[in-house]
Amino acid sequence: MSEHRDWEKIWFVVMLVIVAAFVGYSFLGVVSGSTATYRFGLPLQSGVPKPLPNGTVIIYMEGVQWAWVPQNATQIIYLPNGTELQIPVSSNVITYINGFPYIKVYPNQPVEMVLYSNNVVHAFYIRLPHGPQNVNIVPGINSYSFFFAPSAPGNYTFHCAEYCGIGHSYMYGYLWVM
């Protein structure tokens, strides 16, 4: 009987330590933003840097059945006196090839996606060398995704990650690092 008790108590302590470690790690990730994917990938704008870094391109991206429709793009520029300017850059940044949208950015450029849906739930998903973005978009609620463009030029595909009907897997486009 007594030799039973020991194992169970040891397990209980081990369990508490593991839970505390995991929770602590997770909590620090949430609060300090030490994890890029989480700090910059949250909906509801939590963790998006305020103010946005100089040069950030903001893409207003609508999810429809079944395509990504980048509707507008602006770039944040700060004047020497600190005034924030939002420069319209849609025609430079947004382009279409074979019917799929391309977002043109420079290496390491900060990017903020403002994501919304005109009908069903979608999710914005992109795999970058320094971590993925994965954000659900609920109709009627704006979601946000902030990240730095990869340093290596090339095309990086963004997809829909939440099943949204039969065209779900053809809902994609490209981040084009020039």
């Binding site: 194992w7 509801l44 973005q133 659900n136 609920v138 979601s143 099943y163 009907g165 897997s169």
Partner: protein, 518 residues
């Protein structure tokens, strides 16, 4: 097996039959859509042509599993746990009625051709176009029909609630007059009974909301609906495995040749698992626009739940380690052992999931798909096989499997588990590499992963036939002499009459020769 059973064992067998029938159908659907996935459908026209069939099969696969098979086998285990514990079902008419409520109405739903996915998020699932057949009617009729499809799902949920409450009440009424309810039945009461009838209401409410949307123009708020849905959608994954835990607590000591290492902890664990299984549901929504505090909340609740599962593993592992040599050559003992090992291997995959910063890496990818399928294939399917074999032995009046029967079951279960581990981990690796679930078209770099997955799924399909055949034929009462040693036992065992003729409380428990743990 009788369509209107009047014994506790008969109830267990009836629910088993329902579960197995849908299991076969959903397995065929899975193999079918795996063959569809052998092409990456780079060509959009081809992809759009096959997509409706693919998404119907995926939806059918998921809904048959989550809304019928899980409930059937959890309730079957619950009924059998009562039988093994000298407790019994009493309201046979109600239990039979609820069985048919669970298993029949959704045939109408499937006839409507849903392509909503099993978790049927709004507003996608409210679009008439998501219903291949019902949606093809003029809008006014189509919306009535889709409303009917959801009403039939509502009836399925009502059947589940009815069955779990009835068995719970019957179990409570027939509990031992002295002492505690045995652990097996206690797990049945908690997870085949109370957990089901508490959480299944969330599903019923969500479905009724959809019905009212179509029949009474009640608006549906997507975020609220989704949070409501997962209050069922998460606990439902515990109905079967936690009921199986009760079985493992019963069988593993029996084959380890000693009493359960710590019965006290097995009982404490009921409280832990019961409470926290209802506090973890938002972990399905970590990438959703919900308050950060809510997303942070589920990390500890999910991990405490995982620790409770770990406690089960430790308790059973120590029982085996300190026993008199585990009898793994017995198919029941072997299945129980494999279920336990599989549960550990599938559980390890899940450890990163409740951690917020890591979850986003794999959310909605095959990583998660690989994890939960591996859970289903081991702790649920193989664990259930071990309980089912004893159930069938009881049906056969305490006979034991012939060498042919034992060989088919043991060989089949081993082959099944090898296929399951290969398939589960392949899925998870592909998911970690970025393969999103529910893509009928996918980047070509995943083609070889898909090929291997289909190959491993075929191994599983073949081994399912191998161990399923003796089970199915025994259930139907066909060719049983090939699979069971009945010498010396001719129809009626020494400990009582055959099932179906006994009053409650005195049913035949011929294979129940385990020592009650103290």
């Amino acid at each position: 097996m009788k369509a209107y059973p009047r014994t506790t064992l008969g109830v267990a067998l009836l629910y088993t039959a329902g579960g197995l029938a849908w299991l076969a159908a959903m397995g065929i659907a899975a193999l079918w859509f795996r063959t569809i996935l052998l092409s990456p459908h780079v060509n959009q026209a081809a992809g759009y042509a096959i997509a409706p069939l693919y998404y119907f099969l995926v939806t059918f696969h998921g809904q048959a599993a989550m809304m019928m098979i899980v409930e059937d086998i959890s309730l079957s285990i619950f009924a059998f746990s009562l039988y093994k514990s000298n407790m019994s079902a009493q309201h046979f008419k109600l239990l039979t009625l609820s069985f048919f409520l669970i298993n029949l109405p959704m045939i109408v739903t499937f006839a409507g051709g849903p392509t909503t996915g099993w978790y049927m998020y709004p507003p996608l699932s409210l679009q008439l176009g998501s219903w291949l057949y019902f949606g093809s009617f003029p809008a006014a009729i189509a919306s009535k029909l889709v409303g009917l499809a959801y009403f039939m799902m509502f009836l399925n949920a009502i059947g589940t609630i009815l069955a779990s409450i009835t068995l719970f009440v019957d179990g409570y009424k027939t509990r031992p007059r002295e002492g505690k309810i045995p652990v097996f039945a206690a797990y049945g009461m908690a997870f085949g009974g109370a957990l089901i009838f508490i959480t299944e209401f969330a599903l019923a409410a969500g479905e009724l909301w959809y019905v009212l949307y179509f029949w009474a123009s009640v608006p549906v708020n997507p975020l609220t609906w989704v949070v409501l849905f997962w209050f069922w959608g998460h606990p439902v994954v515990y109905y079967a495995p936690f009921a199986v835990f009760g079985g493992l607590y019963y069988y593993i000591p029996k084959f380890a040749g000693r009493a359960l290492y710590s019965e006290k902890w097995a009982r404490y664990n009921i409280v832990l698992l019961f409470t926290f299984s209802m506090l973890a549901w938002v972990h399905h929504l970590q990438t959703w626009p919900l308050p950060t505090v809510l997303r942070a909340f589920i990390t500890p609740t999910t991990l405490i739940l995982a620790a409770g599962s770990g406690l089960t593993v430790l308790n059973l592992g120590l029982t085996i380690a300190t026993g008199k040599g585990y009898q793994w050559k017995n198919p029941i003992g072997l299945s129980a052992l494999i279920a336990l090992i599989g549960f550990i291997l599938a559980g390890l995959q899940a450890l990163i999931l409740p951690i917020n910063p890591l979850n986003v890496i794999v959310h909605n990818t095959y990583y998660v798909v690989g994890h939960f399928h591996l859970m289903i294939w081991t702790i649920i399917v193989v664990g259930y096989v071990s309980i089912l074999l004893d159930m069938l032995a009881s049906k056969m009046n305490g006979a034991s499997l012939s060498s042919l029967g034992a060989g088919m079951v043991s060989g089949g279960v081993i082959m099944w588990t090898i296929g399951a581990l290969l398939l589960g981990y392949t899925m998870s690796i592909a998911g970690y590499e970025g393969l999103i679930r529910r893509w009928v078209a996918y980047p070509v770099k995943f083609l070889s992963y898909m090929d291997w997955m289909t190959m491993f799924a075929m191994i599983m399909g073949a081994s399912f036939v191998m161990y399923g055949l003796p089970v199915l034929l025994t259930l139907l009462g066909v060719k049983t002499s090939a699979f069971w040693e009945t010498s010396g036992i001719t129809g009626v065992s020494s400990t009582g009459g055959g099932p179906g003729v006994m009053a409650s409380g005195t049913e035949n428990r011929s294979v129940d020769h385990v020592n009650k743990p103290n």
